[in-house]
């Protein structure tokens, strides 16, 4: 279960503090559920996702993760000067997998299909190669809840097919909180939905209701 209690968030801009992106969001997200975040561009979907993942911190309020939550899948930090392998080692160690490091590395190397590039510095990678590595990294660990920000769009056609299968498998096994703009993707993976509108979040048990609410709010 992830408890989100009355969080507010605004960013620092060059002209002082910005507007409130999230204003009093409270949610209880069960562990075994796949949830889609829906909302217009700039509504705060990615912000909420980053807050849940613990990458960023709310300006007010608190979040409690009572299970193992992944980092936002598309945003796994990669250090440009290190090679893909070194980055993977770093992530394994941070997550306490020093003992079975070799297994995890083998998985990442195999799944990302980077071949020789796996030992090249990440700064030389193309966008597609980066997201391959990031995707492989987040699949290498067993989390209770995965959070994902538009990650399904990564890589070329062949890799996309592979990720879709792996993604589906993962969504069946663990909980998932995802941002996607494509209605089909949301319906395919998610049972429930959270609609973010004007700084507030609304919970819907069924994703279809969330999509309906979202569409009704769009001015004709």
């Amino acid at each position: 279960m992830i408890v989100v209690n009355d969080i507010h968030k605004r960013y620092k801009t060059e002209h002082g503090v910005g507007r409130w992106v999230l204003q009093g969001v409270s949610l209880n997200i069960p562990r075994k559920l796949n949830v889609g975040l829906i909302g217009a561009n700039g509504a705060g979907k990615s912000t909420l996702l980053r807050l849940i993942g613990g990458v960023d911190h709310p300006s007010k309020g608190w979040i409690e993760r009572r299970c193992r939550v992944s980092w936002p899948m598309g945003e796994g930090g990669l250090e440009g000067t290190l090679s893909g392998r070194q980055n993977a080692k770093f992530v394994c160690r941070v997550h306490g997998h020093q003992a079975d490091l070799a297994d995890r590395l083998a998985f990442v190397e195999d799944f990302s299909e980077l071949r020789e590039a796996f030992d090249e510095p990440v700064s030389t990678y193309s966008t597609g190669m980066r997201s391959r590595l990031q995707f492989a990294l987040s699949l290498a660990f067993d989390f209770d809840v995965y959070i994902s920000d538009e990650v399904t769009a990564a890589g070329d056609a062949a890799f996309r097919k592979k990720t879709a299968t792996a993604f589906k498998e993962m969504a069946d096994r663990a909980g998932l909180i995802m941002v996607a703009h494509d209605e089909g993707t949301l319906k395919e993976f998610c049972q429930s939905g959270i609609w973010i509108h004007a700084g507030k979040a609304y919970w819907f048990d069924a994703i279809d209701d969330a999509l309906k609410a979202y569409k009704e709010a769009i001015p004709q």
Binding site: H57, E75, Q86, K89, F90, R93, V94
Partner: protein
């Protein structure tokens, strides 16, 4: 569900990971980076020693001028390199904060430890080279050396912690801190003997805790070295404690601002 890890276990895992990541960056960043890491201070020290020998200065404070310079510079470099490494620790590891296990304090402490490691190796190499060239470079009072060196190192860590938070909160401080670092080399008694400064100016220069550390390291190497009057280990450690506490306090208070967008 797997048992959650103990917070201390997480910290150690993170420190280990950052240590290895930083070590790789420092040692293999460019072609033969590890070579330049060693050779840069060695050349610097060799150059100053040659200049001093050329102007016919054989002893300072009653000890061999080469040893006086080597030991003083190593102590000063330990402070300066630790301070600068810690100052930029958060900046250089920004992508890694995507993993919430990594806290802003982690790279700072790890960088200080790594710098101590590197300086220990560099110092041993340089002192061994000096011994081979016929200078008596074994510390006569290793405990005093350890205490003074530890003080310089911890002060570097404390200074770096405070500076990195200040730089993040008020970016303009970076210029001021850089300006401060420049003359520090000259006024810390590293290449200019403190004893040659006349009163009351020496009193002012002695307010700088690094002078105390550097002088005490020299005394640890050669017990009959004429330490400048007024040098005090307690004064150095007072600065260490104040800067460390202030630095940790600032990290505790502003840790979120350091990584928040």
């Amino acid at each position: 569900m797997r048992e959650p890890r103990n917070p201390l276990a997480i910290s150690f895992a993170v420190w280990q990971a950052i240590f290895l990541r930083e070590a790789i960056d420092r040692l293999f960043d460019m072609r033969a980076a590890w070579f330049w890491l060693l050779i840069e201070p060695a050349l610097h020290i060799a150059f100053i020693t040659v200049v001093y020998s050329a102007v016919r200065m054989y002893t300072v404070g009653g000890i061999d001028v080469a040893l006086w310079i080597i030991v003083g510079m190593l102590g000063f470099f330990l402070f300066r390199r630790t301070a600068i490494q810690v100052m930029y620790a958060v900046d250089c590891n920004r992508p890694l904060f995507a993993y919430r296990q990594v806290k802003p304090f982690d790279p700072a402490i790890v960088r200080a430890v790594l710098e101590a490691f590197l300086m220990a190796i560099i110092a041993s190499a340089i002192l061994a080279a000096a011994a081979l060239l016929g200078h008596d470079s074994l510390p006569r009072d290793p405990l005093l050396v350890a205490l003074a060196v530890g003080g310089l190192w911890l002060f570097g860590l404390g200074y770096g912690l405070v500076a990195s938070v200040l730089m993040e909160l008020v970016p303009e401080t970076e210029h001021i801190l850089k300006l401060l670092m420049m003359p520090l080399y000259l006024i810390s008694g590293v290449i200019m003997p403190m004893a040659s400064v006349r009163q009351p100016y020496r009193e002012f220069l002695l307010m700088n805790p690094i002078v105390h550390g550097v002088e005490l390291v020299r005394q640890g190497f050669v017990p009959y070295y004429h330490v400048v009057p007024g040098v005090d280990m307690a004064y150095l450690y007072a600065w260490v404690i104040v800067s460390l506490l202030l630095g940790l306090l600032l990290y505790r208070r502003f840790a979120l601002q350091l990584v928040m967008k």
